[in-house]
Symmetry: C2
Subunit: 342 residues, 2 copies
DNA sequence: CGGGGGCGTGAGAACGCTCTCACGGCCGTG
DNA sequence: CACGGCCGTGAGAGCGTTCTCACGCCCCCG
């Protein structure tokens, strides 16, 4: 009804230039905030732009600048469940917020299988994005290679499996896990089990290594029956806890490699009639929001997400700008947050 | 190490043409699968493309075709919690899977505040996407207007608040809720509460309307103290259930407008010492995976997501192709899934 | 044996922008 | 008063595609 022109004829730079009585170049300068424009010309262009409701054509611009001003956050996860992990939500939220001040756009790409991974590789290679933040990398993942080969600036969230020269930001998973289990030892527990993350993910591997290191440091042995592999989901945590309880009913503590899994473990323990922390102490990992809400509130290892997400984008932007040839990486400190579960 | 050329000089159509001994136009025809190319020329071009590892420049192509071959799934949600709702995960997964067979790319855009919404509007207007699927629309949402004005093909997931001419795909929320509450009535319950969705979302409004309609049809009155507004999260469901129990300890059933909220309600009921379904019967909505896992398994209303997601993309693609001027919408049937909670 | 109709091909314009370069006009300095 | 320098501006060349035409060629039919 309000639309008088049936097909909204999109105005071009030329039309703005004609209306403003200047050249195309001057309009371009105004649009791109170049300082070398007289106030009068600038004003004339401004009002012409407003009148025509001009919006620059991004494709034309990208064609010449070779930049798209969009970066991709790639979620590489076959397991749909994990998609709803609060850790991801936090990263997405954080990166999105960091980028909000810039004129960069953020797109989320998800890959659930190899076909979709290839598609993402193609998408990146086609120059749709200036850079990629890659999350949730598994050991057999082709995506790091695909993206590296595509020559796209890349920052991984979590260190890579091999020692490849790629930028990454990671929490000190090993150190955090070590602190977690050391805390359980210090509070008098001796039969300490662990629910690991997926062992095809570096966070899963590192947190298990930290747990074992803490046991070793205290002169305690590691027992296979006290280690159960989870999948970072609440349901997986519950299953793992049940399995653990079946294998060693006497266990008195458990380090769980993520808070959602710990919540699952908590309900499995409750169903089994164990009190937390009196019968079984529980320490989680992440310090997700759910850790404060569950019953009892979870003692857990906090990842400094507030530091990590800006770092993630910062390292990527630096790569995109091309300053500093060497890829740079960061490992962020974790800390123990004591609540009621241990 | 393996990279001999420091800066991977991206080959262009011209270079392929020269190597293949044909013109640019012929290469373009081969790339775009035009039939009017001789087998020999096609083969020459093919091998030249392979040798040069040629990839078409998407920006240049988009500039002339005015298509980007990417569509956006916009998640418009201030509440980070809701981001991890299994319903969203299913939609994302479904749309992504539907698009996997096409050469269309899917990007996810999230908006948590008005600034980010404006950014998405700009992104769309700039021609980054061929079309938009919009999810999680709230009553005061500027995004539908922004996108409509931007002239981008648009399909909404869920009907709009006003009767605007926009394509949408929705479940029969009202009908489903009516069936849910009717089921509670049929099984002998009389003091039936409801935990609604956010009432600034159409799904929340419609499900409440269905609930009330079922009560009215059975000659039962609606009481304000038997209605509590939730936010589609588990924590919100638990809070609402507690509030309901405080307001009317005698209630014998509750229709909960989403499964995550129902799970929260279940734990609130457990904490309050009520047995489900003996003391209080519970019916959820969504038939999310969690409905089968919780204790007791949830009787719920299934949305036909398997139908809805292909429909969503289909309607959008049809708009993009420009066939069929009139916007088309669909409302999908829901069904009662009986488990143990009611 | 001549003419019409494909079919495969190439030349070149167009898409909308950025950016280099050159050119006047003004100022300040010697 | 003359000259160098800077500042604002415009002309025009690209960026890498697609797509419209026009042009030979060969084949088939009369």
């Amino acid at each position: 009804m309000t639309d008088t022109t049936p097909r909204a004829a999109v105005p071009t730079l030329d039309e703005v230039a004609v209306l403003a009585g200047v050249s195309r170049a001057t309009v371009s300068r105004v649009v791109n905030d170049s300082p070398r424009v007289s106030p009068e010309a600038r004003e004339a262009v401004r009002s012409a732009i407003a009148e025509l409701r001009y919006v620059p054509n991004r494709m034309a611009r990208s064609l010449v600048t070779r930049r798209t001003d969009t970066i991709a956050l790639v979620l590489n996860e076959p397991n749909t469940q994990v998609f709803s992990d609060p850790f991801f939500a936090s990263i997405v939220r954080g990166v999105s917020a960091t980028l909000a001040d810039t004129d960069l756009n953020l797109v989320l790409l998800t890959a659930q299988d190899e076909r979709e991974q290839q598609k993402i590789g193609r998408y990146a290679r086609l120059g749709h994005v200036d850079g990629v933040i890659l999350m949730s990398v598994h050991s057999d993942d082709p995506l790091p290679d695909i993206l590296a080969e595509a020559g796209v600036p890349l920052v991984m969230c979590g260190r890579p499996f091999d020692d490849r020269a790629v930028a990454f930001v990671d929490a000190d998973n090993r150190g955090g896990a070590e602190v977690a289990t050391a805390h359980l030892i210090a509070t008098g527990h001796r039969r300490i089990a662990t629910i690991t993350g997926p062992l095809d993910m570096i966070a899963g591997v590192d947190r298990l290594a930290g747990h074992r290191a803490a046991l070793a440091a205290a002169g305690l042995r590691t027992f296979p029956e006290l280690e159960a592999e989870g999948d970072f989901t609440e349901a997986g945590g519950a299953r793992a806890m049940e399995s653990l309880l079946g294998r060693d009913p006497e266990l008195d503590a458990v380090f769980v490699a993520s808070d959602p899994m710990a919540v699952g473990a908590l309900s499995a323990l409750r169903r089994a009639g164990r009190r937390v922390p009196d019968d079984v102490a529980v320490v989680g990992f992440d310090d997700a929001a759910v850790a404060t809400r569950c019953d009892p509130p979870l003692t857990t290892i906090a990842q400094p997400l507030a530091d990590m997400t800006p770092l993630l984008t910062e390292l990527l932007l630096r790569q995109i700008e091309g300053v500093g040839e060497a890829v740079e990486s960061r490992v962020c400190r974790t800390s123990l947050v004591r609540r009621a579960s241990a």
